[in-house]
Subunit: 500 residues, 2 copies
């Protein structure tokens, strides 16, 4: 056993000793100290092991938020296994894909029509344990800590993340990656002894999971609630004196409305300034995380955040600078570094980078080409060294041997006052191979000519990236949040892409 | 190359890109931005490589504080080599020991009689480079970044640390260990973008080095001054708007005296409260590090601090709780965990633990027995899980098969109002093997009988640990800060120790 090892199981073992009196989790009527959580995790681990969950095997959670998600993760940690909390609100077909892709040995689930339907669709050799009484009965009366020698580079958490070009992939995060990401949050959010986090966003999403894990790393208190419900969130912040919760704009407005008569004392919450009403209810926090309004750039594949605006406040790039535990390069399609001011793919190396996707060897080789994690997103180093996120690198157009990324041109198009939405495709060009073409939706009541729009883009970015043609349309077809380039190519004559 | 790698060279590479305009170091007339520091480090690395410094080789700094210590460390980092800044104020004999023990390929040195004498005493195949003009001439005009593929588990820093039982040993710290320790400080000290550290304590000591490295990790500004000189320290804090400096009690009093007329504006310093005069000059900081008056437990072998009082303020143990990147166990002589409240050896595992001592294979095997780093210090888990440091584990007495550590009994003896100093040895005992005997120095003008002192200890700790005999003496012979047990044994009849 290496003297340098630190697994999530080790962290729990430290808290059992170091915080014997501290509350670890709160969930409805359930309150567990760290020693109580540790004992339950060992009991769960024994049950999982009896069902064949060993090193590298997967366990799946399909349900709302629950303290049992953390138990399942920590039991998997002690066994060298992988825990995946998945979105139970998906369709039966999507859930069936998760089941057949992940092939878990144990599924812990909450009642749901879609889950039951998906279960009927697949042939899976797994133990199904219903959360609640059945789960409690599943735990043996007592059990020792598992004897498995788990390395901290072993994957322990799997989170399915949206794929722009097909089925979702499960990003695998190791003990080391999660602990490194937690350290970055402890640092930037200035989390202190006594921190209490309310997990009121979905635990299958990295945004809620990352603060749950950072609070665990610190030995703080994690309060679980099944889902965001404004009055209940207010009640829990007040009752448990929560320091932080998973909240964004409209969620905050919901709390302000739910607490308009001031029944709840939300002053324990140290959070981001939002509105005069909100600021009067809470304690506005001045940590770099809160002062920068939680700015930065991230993705599931780096454990959450790769860069923090709080490390570059007032800089030119609104993504700030990298976490102290990673380093970033902006690379071109050949893996060479581009100059500051040029757009390329955001690539990273460091402790919080993931261990690849479950069961995607070819994609993993591409994602880690040259020893750099390729985020699939475009970015730019500004002159002051801060970073700007441009957009997803979905396509590349090659014109006269120059690389042109649609997202960069679209960004420039959208700064034109008359442009409501825009997408850029590559059309075959005899002389240049391809040339960029813009498809533009104008704002109601505005006008602009193709020439005006091309001229606008030429002033914003390098001239060779400007569209040669502009077509106007009523709406850009989308796939999720991004343009549906296949549909656009078909309708507006795209083609001759590099490699095609 | 692993996508998870992060070396000190990588951190420098990130800052070169991310902080092109930021000041990295200030030292007298020298001011370097991060890109300038990066370029000089590559030039130095090229010179060192030409002198045979490759992976695992050592370079030695013998001199006062200088920005060149950081350059040497970072050049070693880029080559996979090890940099050792050693105490140049040692005697020629002690320096000669360092030279023959470390066998560096390159020595960078400042003028000193002892260094010149030591150089004459040893036969060493090393290049000697005098700091200043000779050093500047040693750097080639330009050089690319070295091509070496350095792993982040490679040792990069060696610090000689006092040995209680003989010659000092060089503790080897890896890139990963130093970066982990820096993260702990960034967290506990709440270091923010723009942090400026004044290195006014010795860089060969981990206390100054650890904040130098944490500031580097953050991309802050490091201000070097050859040594602590109160007026110059005041001037530098004012001129460079330093956020922190290496300061303790009497050093702080020196600054208050040097600035009694208020000529220097020290308000940029965010530091520990000390006296009304001091608190009025600076900004008293409320980070857990400063609010806890820099409390905790540490040693060079863990990169600096292992535990922080700031993670257990108000707890029973004044060493607080472990850094989030380590975990701690209190073990007995057989490697079994002792119960809370019992004294045992403080053992640790985690990211900031060192890689062993240079050239001490047998000692290293003992220090890492069972996969736990054995600190050689005694501690205790209190009922609330916080930790107390008891004292060094220099000796163990075995009486009726029970382990008794002198440091614990000495601690109890010193709480008696009449006791000025005390030491405990084991004397041969026919029935019990050994029995503890106290050697006590009384305070001037006080009296106490042996029986009263034994009774006092019995009330403080477990009865079997109380001395059976007490002898009074004028002074306890010391070896450094600790009792000279060999001398005490000889004089007061000690012997029959376990294993002897």
């Amino acid at each position: 056993m290496s003297v340098h090892r630190l697994t999530l199981g080790d962290v729990l073992g430290e808290h059992r000793r170091g915080r014997p009196l501290g509350t670890a989790v709160v969930d409805g009527d359930v309150r567990l100290t760290y020693p109580e959580l540790d004992a339950r995790v060992n009991r769960l681990a024994a049950a999982l092991a009896a069902d064949g969950v060993g090193p590298g095997e997967r366990v799946l959670w399909l349900g709302q938020n629950s303290f049992r998600v953390l138990e399942l993760l920590l039991a998997a940690a002690r066994l060298g296994a992988v825990c995946c909390p998945a979105n139970w609100r998906q369709s039966a077909d999507e859930l069936a894909h998760v089941l057949t892709d992940l092939t878990p040995k144990v599924v812990v689930w909450e009642e749901s029509e879609a889950v039951e339907k998906a279960r009927g669709q697949v042939s899976l050799d797994a133990r199904w344990v219903r959360s609640g009484e059945e789960y409690e009965a599943y735990l043996p009366a007592e059990a020792d800590e598992p004897a498995a020698e788990v390395g901290d580079d072993a994957p322990v958490l799997a989170l399915y993340t949206a794929a722009f070009d097909g089925r979702p992939n499960a990003a695998l995060l190791s003990h080391s990656a999660l602990i490194a990401h937690s350290m970055a949050l402890l640092h930037i959010r200035q989390m202190e002894d006594g921190f209490a986090f309310l997990a009121c966003g979905p635990l299958f999403h990295v945004g809620t999971m990352m603060f749950t894990l950072a609070t665990f790393q610190l030995g703080g208190k994690i309060v679980f609630t099944p889902a965001y419900e404004p009055a209940e969130v207010c009640r829990l912040i007040d009752a448990e004196k929560c320091t932080q919760a998973f909240l964004f704009g409209p969620m905050i407005d919901g709390l302000v409305e739910a607490n308009k008569d001031g029944s709840y004392d939300l002053s324990s919450l140290r959070f981001v300034s939002h509105s005069p009403e909100w600021d009067a209810m809470i304690t506005v926090d001045d940590s770099p995380w809160c002062a920068s309004k939680m700015g930065g750039y991230g993705q599931t594949e780096v454990g959450g955040m790769l860069t923090f605006l709080g490390l570059g406040m007032g800089g030119a790039g609104y993504a700030g600078r990298p976490s102290p535990l990673v380093h970033v390069r902006i690379l071109d399609a050949d893996g060479a570094e581009v100059a500051p001011g040029e757009v390329g793919e955001i690539c990273a190396r460091g402790h919080s980078v993931f261990s690849g996707y479950w069961n995607r060897p070819e994609l993993n080789a591409a994602k880690s080409a040259g020893g750099w994690h390729h985020t699939g997103d475009l970015g730019r180093r500004e002159a002051d060294g801060t970073l700007t996120f441009i957009g997803p690198k979905l396509r590349m157009i090659k014109s006269a041997n120059e690389n042109i990324y649609p997202a960069e041109v679209e960004r420039a198009l959208k700064t034109h006052p008359a442009v409501a939405d825009a997408a850029v495709i590559g059309v075959p060009d005899e002389r240049f191979g391809q040339s960029p073409k813009a498809v533009v939706v104008l704002k109601d009541g505005t006008t602009a000519t193709a020439e005006e729009i091309i001229e606008h883009v030429r002033a914003e970015i390098a001239s060779y990236k400007k569209p040669r043609e502009v077509e106007f349309t009523d709406a850009i077809p989308k796939r999720g949040y991004t343009p549906d380039y296949d549909a656009l190519d078909e309708r507006f004559g795209g083609g001759a892409y590099p490699g095609s």
